[in-house]
Structures are given as C-alpha cells and as structure tokens.
C-alpha cells in the first residue's frame, strides 16, 4: 500500500496545491502576520511600524474604547439574535399551515433574504432619516415618538443601536424563516400525532415536540446569526458611521478597527490587535454556543 501512497502523493499534491496555495497565502500567512502586527504601533503618516511588545494586546483589551466597542457589540448581538430566532420561529409556525395562499405569505416572509447588508441598510436609512426620511413624514408617528425627527432614531445615542438592530433583524428574517421552515417540514408528523393522542395541547406539543426537533436548526441559525452580528460592519458604516458621537453608540469592535473617524486613526498595528482579539473572542463564543446547545442536539451520523 505504501507504493499506492507514494503514487497518490503526486496526484494529491497536484490536486491540493491550488487550494493550499491560496489558503496559505491569503488566510494562514495573514493570520500569523496579523498576530505579529498586533504588537506593533504603526504611523498612518510615515507608514513606519514599531514593535511595542506583547503587552499591547493587554493594553488594547483594557482600553476604554475597546471595552466600549465590546459592550456595543454584545448589546447588538443580544438585540438581534434572540429576537431574530424568535421571529423566525413564529413566522415559520404561522406559515406552516396548508391553507390557501400560504405560498404567497411564504414568499413574502422569505423575501428579505434577497437583500444584502448594503441594500437593507440603505432601505432603512431612507426610512429613518430625520429630515427627509419616510417615518418623519408620518405626522402621528412623529407626535408619538418625537425622537424620530429630533434628533432622529439613528442620531440619538439611546436609540441608534436599536434602530440598527431592527434593520439587521429585518434583513436576516428571510434566512431564519427558510431554515426553520425546512426544519419544521422535516419533523415527522407521527410525532405530533402521538403527542396529540397523549393529550398534549397545542402549546405542549410545541414545547415537547417542535422545539426539541428544531434544535439543530436553531443551533445552526444561532451560530450563524451570532457570528454575523459579531462581525457586523456594513450596517454601521451606512446607517450611523459609528456614531452618534461622542458616545460612539454604534461603534462595534469591527467598526472600531475598520471604520472612519475612530480613535485608531489608521494605525495598522492597533487594527491587527483588535482583529486578533475579536478572533479569540469569536473562538470562545463558538465553543460556548456549541457547548450550550450541543447537549440537546442530535446529529444523524
């Protein structure tokens, strides 16, 4: 068999080389370099980088700007993921009946899957803009919620993050809906029937049959949504520019690193530090999520 291994080695090398070359050059090498640059300070003006020691990671982690950004990011995740999952499940359950015209509603509920971050954010920007936006032109809404016009839902530090979160939840609704619907449809009907026979009412059937059987889908959706929320950038770039200042209410960790007008000031070293810290946090988070849901999930193979 070793001759086979040797023979295959040549072919394998040829087949793997393209992927390996690209992945090494544009994923692995940059990661290593980013870890190294994370302990450097670079001047945006002279483009000179100076090493300042591994303590820089700790300094950034303990800095007020990073911690603010982390708090904003966590808030954003908490605002979007549970709400998104909940709405996805509600919509999927509502649309799961074989009544006339349900196809139309299913299409409508899926429609937001066609929007990209930029498209969805601009649509919502148009809705929420305080001087020329849609909501400001609805008089009774403005009377009810004066913040819509003054200074604007995206300009008020208390509401900006929630407004951005609303836009994100809306954009992801189609995705969650499709997943949960597919999950619902894969639940064998006889499970429901036996529960019904056992005397379980609608709600009990939901909690004892539907939810557990949906758990792989919910886990998957939760991981994807959380991952996306943690890495969200476009929403803030287009809706708020990281503001409103000076509270920086929508400057998430990613925005702190890559956005314009943040305290980083074009320092590639600090950007790398933040990026690597984000990477580590995401790793831990994924492990936690899997652990949290993992016990209850059944996998086919």
């Amino acid at each position: 068999m070793s001759s086979r291994k040797r023979r295959d080695l040549g072919t394998a090398a040829m087949m793997l080389l393209p992927s390996l070359a690209i992945l090494s050059a544009f994923v692995l090498y940059p990661l290593g370099r980013a870890v190294w640059m994370g302990q450097q300070r670079c001047s945006a003006v002279t483009k000179v980088c100076r090493s300042s020691g591994w303590g820089q990671y700790l300094d950034v982690l303990q800095s007020s700007q990073f911690q603010n950004a982390l708090v904003v990011t966590v808030k954003f995740v908490l605002l979007t993921v549970p709400v998104g999952l909940f709405l996805g499940v509600v919509l999927a359950v509502l649309a799961d009946k074989a009544i006339r015209g349900i196809g139309f509603f299913r299409t409508v509920f899926t429609s937001t899957i066609a929007t990209s971050v930029a498209v969805a954010s601009l649509m919502w920007l148009f809705l929420l803009q305080p001087s020329i936006g849609v909501l400001t032109n609805v008089p009774f809404l403005v009377k009810l919620f004066p913040v819509i016009k003054n200074p604007g839902l995206l300009q008020d530090s208390g509401t900006a993050l929630s407004a951005a979160a609303a836009s994100s939840v809306w954009a992801n609704l189609g995705f969650t809906f499709v997943l949960v619907t597919a999950g619902l449809q894969s639940i064998p009907r006889d499970l429901y029937e036996s529960a019904f026979v056992d005397g379980a009412g609608g709600f009990r059937r939901f909690t004892n049959v539907t939810l557990p059987m949906l758990s792989p889908v919910l886990l998957f959706s939760s991981v994807v949504l959380t991952s996306r929320a943690f890495q969200a950038y476009g929403e803030f770039d287009l809706l708020t520019g990281g503001g409103p200042k000076p509270q920086f209410s929508t400057t998430t960790v990613t925005y702190l690193a890559y956005g314009t007008g943040t305290s980083i000031g074009g320092d590639d070293g600090l950007k790398s530090t933040i990026a690597i810290l984000l990477f580590v946090i995401l790793l831990i988070l994924s492990a936690a999520q899997f652990r949290g849901f993992g016990k209850r999930v059944e996998y086919g193979n």
Partner: protein, 550 residues
C-alpha cells in the same frame, strides 16, 4: 445570507472534553484580563513612555544642523524655543512683521522635493494628471467640474481627471492608506489635516513650484497662505476658503430695539444684545452655540484664540517647529469657556449639541417654537441658506431677514484664520506631472477662477483682485452679505497667532476640546475640564512626534 464557513465548522464538530476546558480557561483569562482598568485609552496601547516628547528636540537640533523645516529663513518667521540650536533668532514673544514664508532664500527648500516648472513646456503630448477632490456636495462638485472642464478645453498640455472622494475624511484616510503608486497627482485636504499630510514627506511643496515659476504670492490674502505654511515653507495652496461669521435675525433685532445694521462685534456686545433680545421676547434665545468639533467646539475655539492674539499651541502654533503642547487651558481658554458657560446657564444662549449635520445652529434660528436670534456658522453655508430660505422652507424667515456680521471675538480685534481646504502636489518623482499639477492649481487659484468659484459657492476668494472681477464683483455689489467673510479675512493681522494651530493630531485635539466644551456647557468647571483636555492633547501630540520624528 451565506452561512459563514466559520459557523458551519462549528456546527459540524462534536463536543469533546477538550472543548469544555478551552472554553473555561479562555473565557476566564479574557475576563480577568479585561477586568483591570477600563480607563486606559487605546491610543496609549503599547507605548511605554508617552510623556516624554522624545523626537521633537532631537529633530529640531538635527534639523537646525541640516537646515530643513525647523530652520527659519532669514527675514521670515522668528522666535523658536530655547531648546533648538537654531542660530540667531529673536525672542519668542516678539511677533514678526510677517509670517508669510519668504520667497527669497532657498534654505528651507534645499532638502525638499524640487519642482521644475519648465518640464511642462518641455514635455511632448498631453500630461494626464488625477485629482482627488474631497468636496462633499453635488453642488460644489458641479462648480468644480465647470472650472476643470474650462481648464481642460482651454489648453492641450494638461488633462485633469477628477476622482471624487465625497468627504474630507475619505480623502485623508484614503491618501494615508495608499502607497505612493496608488496616490493621485493632486490631493485636496481640509486645513486640519495640514500637518499630517506635510509629515508624510510625499508631496512637493508649493513653494518649490512657486519659486521655480517666479509666482507672485503677494496677490493672495496673507491669512490664506499663512494657514498652509510651516517652517518658512508654503506647503499647499488654499483653494476653497471659508471662515466663521455671525448669522443674525434682523427682524428679532428690530423687535428688540437694536440696530439691525450693527451686529455685535465682541463677546460682550454679543451678551448685551442677547440680553436685550431675550428680555424683549424678540426670540427665545439670543444666540445658539454648538459643541461640534468642526464647528463650535473645535474650530471656533481655534478662531477665538487667534482673535485674542494668543497661541493655541507652542512653537508658534506648531509652525516654526513641531508643537509639543497646547495652551488651551490658559487664561484665554478658561475665560472663553467661562463666558460660554454663563451665557448658556443664564439662558441667553442655547447649546444645540454636537452638530453632526453641521447646520444645527442655523436650524435653531428657524425653529418655530424656541428660536435663537443669532448663530455662528461658516461663511461657506451662506449661499445654501439663502437658497433654502428663498424656497420658503421656513415660513416666517425670509431671505432679507438674515444679516451677516463678522465673527464676534474676545476683544475688538478683527481677523480669523481660514477654514476650507487646500491643494497638494504629490511627489511622483515626475517633473512633468508636478509642473502640470502646478499649472492646474495656478488656474484654480487665479483671480478669475476664484471669482467664479466664490460667486457660485459662497466660499471666499483667496485672491484680493478677485473681488474686482465678475461674477464676484456683481455678487458682492448685489448682496454685501457675501463680502463680510472676505472683509473679515482681509482685516486679519499678519501675526503668527492668526495662522491657527498646525498639529499632527489636530482633529483629535479638536474632539477633546469639543468634549470639554460640552461638559462645561453642562456645568463642569472650565479650568479642570480644559486642563484635562490639554493633558490628553499633549499626550497625543507627544505620541505623534514619536511616531513621525522617530
């Protein structure tokens, strides 16, 4: 909607005991690390010693030895601090007769990139150059395009292609991020980015081209050139010039028994007039202030220091040598902030906040329920304001109701430093391109172009003779309000403090001052807030010097 590969990976793995350990250890470590102080600034990360301004003195001494930027040329700027070894200069406090860079000596230019303007005539064919324009509105971009098309069609030697960056920040960030090959031939940046761009050492100073082509700088308003000069060298050419003026409601003035043709010229008069207006109920508030860093909080503070004849930062506002500290917490600064605080607390003035839109103070004047009678705003907004009023957007306020006066200051001292942006020639080691860029810049800043530009936009011309040419001549004659900003500029005394600060982290310092002002207007103690802001600013400046000088 594409499930990130990351997510798929996680969902595909099974849990193991290892994972539990990793999770626990990792999160505990992270939380423990993060939970120590949360009051450090990210800009201090990695720096072990942020206090000592290491490079400045060293750079100054070496600069003095080799005769580069820190050396004042004879007959021009004087007064360098005692730490430099520069020979034969007067005491730091005597203002020199002129701060305009000398055109005669070449000592400061000796070690800077050269500009051979004969290279354009010598070149065959058309020289194509790119220009990164940073103007933000479609209207302004249109006016610029008109001028550029005129230039392109009027000669065949140079062809300019405009690449709109759509915002000052985008232009600055884009330029800094790019490598030299990715940079344009001409760059526009706002005045607060002056020091940063100069320190990239990637540009050809305007003075080099001016000297080579025997350009007459005396045709320009000195204040405009002073803004973009440092170390005796003019680095970039002012193009769109603005300064703050007082917008006031003439109707409210009349109603309060004040002469609508005599707006307040000093801060005392501003207070007195506001009192009369509020007491006569001609308006809810006398004046609207804001704490935005490109307006009320940052930019106007710099203006008020200039008006007081006081230096905002040391080393002659960072122009004779790189600044090492700011003076914002001195008597001038504290006096100013105390004044603003008392105006707001006595309800003679209102604070409209961070002014993200740039127009909040103006909008306050048009507010239906609680208006203010006056506000300070950039002169560049006048044309737009009149257009909006003409369209009837704000009933109750007509075009004739708006009066324009010079910006009120601490004393009766006139003068402002300029805002707006300037044009840089990027050094691509190509004489023909540099010469072509200089040709285009000369066109944009000649008397006729500045007249057209100013009349179209409401910016102020940088050339004195532009006001004698149409269309600006007619505009000023028909509506003298447009001329106020220009007259104010002309009246600026030619002393070093008028030029305004040139700091590396200027934008960040403005933000710190703006934050301090916001706190002060909310009731905080002026001295403490300003000293705090000054300390943080000094740290940023020190860091900048370290990075740039070292």
């Amino acid at each position: 909607m594409n499930p990130t590969p990351h997510a798929r990976f996680v969902a595909a793995r099974r849990g193991t005991g290892h994972r539990r350990l990793v999770l626990l250890a990792g999160s505990m470590a992270l939380v423990a690390a993060a939970c120590s102080s949360g009051s450090k600034s990210i800009t201090d990360a990695g720096n072990k010693d942020t206090k000592a301004p290491i490079a400045t003195t060293a750079a100054a001494t070496t600069a003095a030895a080799t005769g580069t930027t820190a050396t004042p040329s004879s007959g021009a700027t004087t007064g360098t601090p005692a730490t430099t070894a520069t020979p034969g200069t007067a005491a730091a406090t005597t203002p020199a007769p002129t701060v305009a860079p000398s055109t005669t000596t070449s000592t400061p230019l000796a070690n800077l990139p050269k500009c051979d303007t004969t290279a354009l005539a010598a070149s065959t064919g058309t020289v194509d150059i790119t220009y990164w324009d940073a103007l933000g509105s479609t209207q302004l971009q249109g006016s610029l395009k008109k001028l550029t098309d005129l230039y392109n069609s009027s000669q065949a030697k140079v062809h300019v292609t405009i690449q709109e960056q759509n915002a000052y920040e985008t232009a600055i960030d884009g330029y800094l991020q790019a490598n030299q090959d990715g940079r344009p031939d001409i760059l526009m940046t706002p005045e607060y980015a002056f020091t940063q761009i100069k320190d990239t050492k990637s540009v050809v100073p305007i003075d080099a081209c001016a000297t080579s082509s025997k350009f007459d700088k005396s045709l320009y308003v000195p204040a405009t050139l002073a803004e973009y000069a440092a170390g005796g060298v003019l680095w970039s050419m002012p193009f769109n010039v603005s300064n703050p003026v007082l917008y006031y409601n003439r109707k409210a003035f009349t109603a309060a028994g004040l002469d609508p043709n005599k707006p307040p010229a000093t801060l005392e008069e501003l207070q007195a007039d506001s009192k009369k207006i509020v007491e006569a109920r001609a308006s809810t508030y006398g004046v609207a202030f804001d704490t935005g860093f490109d307006s009320g909080g940052g930019w106007y503070t710099e203006q008020w220091f200039a008006k007081s004849g006081d230096f905002y930062a040391d080393n002659q506002n960072g122009r004779s040598a790189p600044a090492t500290k700011v003076n914002i917490d001195d008597a001038t600064g504290v006096g100013l902030m105390t004044y603003l605080q008392s105006m707001v607390s006595s309800k003679l003035a209102v604070n409209v906040g961070a002014n993200d839109s740039g127009q909040d103070t103006l909008l306050k004047m048009a507010d239906k329920t609680q208006p203010a009678a006056m506000s300070i705003n950039t002169s560049a907004g006048l044309a737009q304001v009149l257009t909006i009023l003409k369209a009837g957007t704000f009933p109750g306020l007509t075009v004739d109701d708006i009066g324009i006066g010079p910006m009120p200051g601490p004393a009766a001292q006139p003068g402002v430093n300029v805002g707006g942006a300037s044009l840089w020639i990027v050094d691509h080691k190509n004489d023909a391109k540099a010469a072509a860029a200089w040709d285009y810049i000369q066109f944009l800043t000649n008397a006729q172009s500045q007249s057209t530009w100013a009349a179209d936009t409401g910016y102020v011309p940088s050339r004195k003779d532009s006001t004698e040419l149409d269309p600006l001549k007619t505009t000023y004659a028909n509506d003298p309000r447009f001329a106020v900003a220009f007259d104010q500029l002309l009246a600026t005394p030619n002393i070093p403090s008028s030029a305004g600060p040139a700091l590396g982290p200027q934008r960040e310092v403005r933000k710190l001052v703006a934050t301090a002002m916001a706190a002060i207007l909310g009731g905080a103690d002026p001295q403490t807030s300003l000293t705090d802001a000054a300390k943080q600013s000094d740290a940023l400046i020190a860091q900048y010097s370290q990075q740039v000088g070292g």
